[in-house]
Symmetry: C2
Subunit: 295 residues, 2 copies
């Protein structure tokens, strides 16, 4: 019988023996591995799974898994599971920055009632760089907030600009949101050149991968450009890193995808993937390897 290692109990259909992930488990006979979320501490186990045929990450990004995958195995990602959670966090970061939430929190800690006019999201122009399912989920929220959304994807399509148009679009932006996977094309895509095209006080949000934004360039632009970052480079950010103190920067520790709304969706998704494996049906979200996993 196939053996699976999974993050949660009660997911597997008949035909799979599923154990809940545990650092100390004997994993030599694992065929199917659904990584826990977060997954960093579980990655070393993959090298001890010679029979592995199906690796499932619950993240959308999978660049870090490619070197670990055994030949011929199928890798599936968690595309779609984080759309609502990540879009919502990006919106929360935008509103926190525009409506000065950190100032109010710090004033509350000092018991200070001190009014101040703030920026706003309504009537702002927001360039969303990366217009997949998360970017679109964010776009719908921003339109409801009376912002003007300018969608940008790697290739232009109907109603969506291409990355090549960014130099013309960035000077019009009040806010730029980066929702990009890390690839050779996006690695430090957003550097000194792009930052220089932004207005004074423009806000850069990053909820994709930390290395899409050049940290040194942001530090150099510090004070002129504001930022709210759920992902950083390096990550985790060391305690002595200058980014913590950069004026106008908000940092959250890569938590955009992992809110309460993610779990029920992730559970349903994993249960359906395991059902498909047993039934010999094509898997969802295959990013490498055969879409039907045979044992």
């Amino acid at each position: 019988m196939m053996r699976a290692l999974v993050p949660w109990d009660g997911l597997a259909p008949a035909g799979i023996r599923a154990d809940v992930y545990d650092d100390a488990a004997d994993v030599s006979d694992v065929d199917c591995f659904v990584l826990p979320y977060p997954q960093a501490t579980a990655l070393p186990l993959i090298a001890r799974m010679p029979r592995l045929r199906y690796l499932q990450t619950l993240y959308a990004g999978y660049d870090d898994l490619l070197p670990l995958l055994p030949a011929g195995a199928t890798l599936c990602n968690g595309r779609g599971l984080h759309d609502a959670s990540t879009a919502e966090h990006a919106l929360g970061l935008i509103l926190a920055a525009q409506r000065y939430l950190p100032t109010w929190v710090r004033n509350q800690d000092r018991h200070e009632w001190r009014q101040q006019y703030t920026a706003s999201l309504a009537d702002s122009t927001v360039v969303i760089v990366g217009y997949g399912s998360i970017g679109q989920a964010l776009g719908r929220r921003l339109v409801a907030c009376e912002a003007t959304v300018v969608p940008v994807a790697s290739r232009p399509r109907e109603g969506v600009h291409g990355v090549a148009e960014l130099p013309a679009l960035l000077p019009t932006a009040d806010i730029v949101v980066l929702v990009l996977p890390l690839t050779s094309a996006t690695d430090r895509l957003f550097g000194a050149d792009f930052l220089a095209l932004l207005r004074d006080g423009a806000l850069v949000i990053n909820v994709g991968r930390g290395r899409v934004l050049d940290t040194e360039a942001l530090l150099a632009a510090g004070g002129r450009i504001r930022a709210a970052l759920d992902v950083t480079d390096p990550e985790p950010l060391p305690a002595d890193h200058p980014l913590w103190n950069l004026p106008g920067v908000i940092i959250t520790p890569h938590v955009a995808g992992g809110s309460a709304t993610f779990y029920p969706r992730a559970r349903r998704f994993v249960a359906e993937q395991l059902r498909r494996i047993v039934a010999g049906e094509p898997l969802h979200n295959v990013v490498l390897g055969p879409s039907i996993v045979s044992f």
Copy 2:
């Protein structure tokens, strides 16, 4: 010629002599007074305007102005000018509470990268108490955020519950938003009885008037119920008030209505009101007195 005292330059049409508000001005011949925003420091001037025929506040609420208004004068409020700004701030408070923004701000100040799962707005049920133009603007934003919106107004109407149904609705709520004016019917409307009907960990938002929520009852429910308040009772909140430190409470100093998106709308509105006065046309947003002001 009519004399007006206004908050900003360049608003008045021919036929009105408009001066920009100044504490020290001689105001004895003022016919039209457009209050500055915020307005608290300008209120004592009203008693020194024996000719006043038109008083314009840029707030939606006007309970505090009624005792100051000379007999026969027209009072207009700022209904509509704050819809986007206030709804956006309410959404920011909801996201700050659900996605633990204060925790991240405090951790950032300590240079701590510490992950934690958060609640979410998506899939939540939000009861909006007060479904005028601000409540509806918030409702549109929440629907885009994949929340379920339950609208409640003083009287039931098509698709909107009445206040009398609150006891049945509150136990279903993850989040309750209060967007009510202060009247004898809403004064401390939300007290111990209503708070007791809420689930553990439910979130109460107040962006209307502080006295709609009973502060003592909230303090007594402290820890069990979370809150994010842009208005408080008393207001401003004194430095030694226990609400500052109540666990799970976020406080902003009555700034929901006054963001960047408010000013252009307010300028256009005031210019149009002054034009109507000179033309003898009916004013917008009349809450007391004749809608055509004659001199």
